[in-house]
Symmetry: C2
């Protein structure tokens, strides 16, 4: 690999750029972004070596597509049309079903790898790119058998150099599970933030009374709406299902309280404490 | 102050013990706890100097009451009955209305201070006690004018030595606001954990797919049901109100999604992003 192209130089793409460059000092990292300010910023911050345009993608050995998931679905055919036969195109978006369907019959399907790094922060843009974001994190790969074997190897080498663990899933299962463990968390956090902001017209009160617990539960409400709206749209059916179940559980908890059934309130919390053991495995 | 008594040697009381001892090396810290194992553990860990019993409270210069809020309401009259005229009794529970009502007409009302430190972690028991938990945190004090002036001074000296900021509120306002910024966060987190656990029968999947975002939003679901059930019971009316509003907001968000109104989905998130500025003040 000589030329790495990062399409979308924000938190996810920028962090890939930094870490891949670190373990491959001889490569040149090119950034492509529809936001010219981000592109210049990424260059100034040293996240990328050079700026480039969409039409330069034919120079790429590897392309990492890290743009909003609706843009990825819209542009992936054209990206695959532009790249050379030896080029590996990795999509790293948070939804996998639509993108896999979209490329299914593309003549360069075997140049494409559908992946999802379980890593991130609540920040966005080139400034959010950080070193070692992917170290020890999981990379989910979908439909690996549809990628050319040599390009699979190339991708696995990159991910393994970053210190990632690999898990293989089908796109449908990915989108269903990820709705629970990621997408729902974002909505619960955004709506918690909204509920509190609406109530506490005097922000000083939130400020003084909120502790680290509140901070932790609303952290994701800082996330980028530009990234998340397309994710919710693409994963609509699964996300609505998770929301239904979450709201049902909240209503049940409320009913227990209304009926003074604090034994059930206690039991629900006690059973959920078990999340400790599960989280211990996340680290 | 020579003799500090900590009633309830868990996360909150134990952390007070550690820090007050640090800035007053000449005092003796006594622990009292209905859980004998916790008491011994606290002593072994050096959280307290000596174990004691309820009846020893007449030896106390200062008593910190850090037991579940229902136990505090049940025991506070007896505690005040036992202590000497010069003794300061500080309640540090998460609800303030019921306890203030309970002591209202006690003949030692002026020995009592109702307080709530906005600090904690998701852990509990003596092992959870840590140094500097209160450094830079807010201490909310209710009905300060009902505490004897000299004892107010004594309390403020203790809190200021710990590096705490003081805010005065009435108990009703405290319970209403805290329902939003603390109690609701815990329920949203517990129910999120429950929703995911129910769905993901295969825990390995949660494990591998959940990232730091999920971890952050469900962190509070590790909290102690023994502590939180009485809090929800005491603050029932306010908590149900916050739950109603939270569920309403979640339903609205879901409706937007069902109706493909992703502009509203975007706008709701964009407006809530403002939580960044508020959280910057918490730190």
């Amino acid at each position: 690999m000589k030329n790495l192209y990062i399409l979308g130089v924000g938190l996810i793409g920028g962090s890939f750029a930094l870490d891949i460059k670190k373990s491959n000092s001889d490569i040149t990292v090119y950034g492509v972004d529809s936001n010219q300010d981000h592109l210049e910023e990424a260059k100034q911050l040293g996240v990328i070596d050079r700026t480039a345009t969409f039409n330069d993608l034919n120079q790429a050995d590897v392309v990492i597509v890290s743009i909003p998931v609706d843009a990825t679905v819209n542009q992936i055919s054209e990206i695959l049309d532009v790249v050379e036969d030896h080029t590996l195109v990795i999509d790293v978006g948070s939804t996998k079903e639509d993108i896999c369907l979209k490329v299914e019959n593309h003549k360069k399907r075997r140049n494409f790898l559908a992946a999802h790094p379980i890593a991130g922060t609540e920040f966005s843009g080139p400034k959010a790119a950080i070193n070692d974001l992917y170290q020890g994190k999981t990379m989910i790969i979908c439909e690996v058998e549809k990628t050319a074997f040599k390009l699979q190897e190339k991708a696995l080498k990159i991910f393994s150099d970053l210190g990632m663990r690999i898990r293989y899933m089908n796109p449908k299962a990915h989108d269903k599970h990820i709705a629970y463990v990621s997408h729902l968390s974002h909505i619960s956090s955004f709506m918690l933030g909204k509920t509190v902001i609406e109530k506490e017209k005097n922000e000083r009160d939130i400020f003084d009374m909120a502790g680290s617990g509140f901070e932790s539960t609303v952290r994701l409400a800082k996330s980028s709406p530009e990234m998340w709206t397309p994710i919710f749209r693409q994963n609509k059916t699964n996300v609505i299902e998770t929301l239904d179940e979450y709201i049902k559980n909240l209503n049940t908890f409320k009913e227990y309280m209304i009926n003074n059934d604090f034994e059930s309130v206690f039991n629900q919390m006690k059973e959920t404490n078990h999340i400790k053991d599960i989280l211990n495995g996340i680290a």
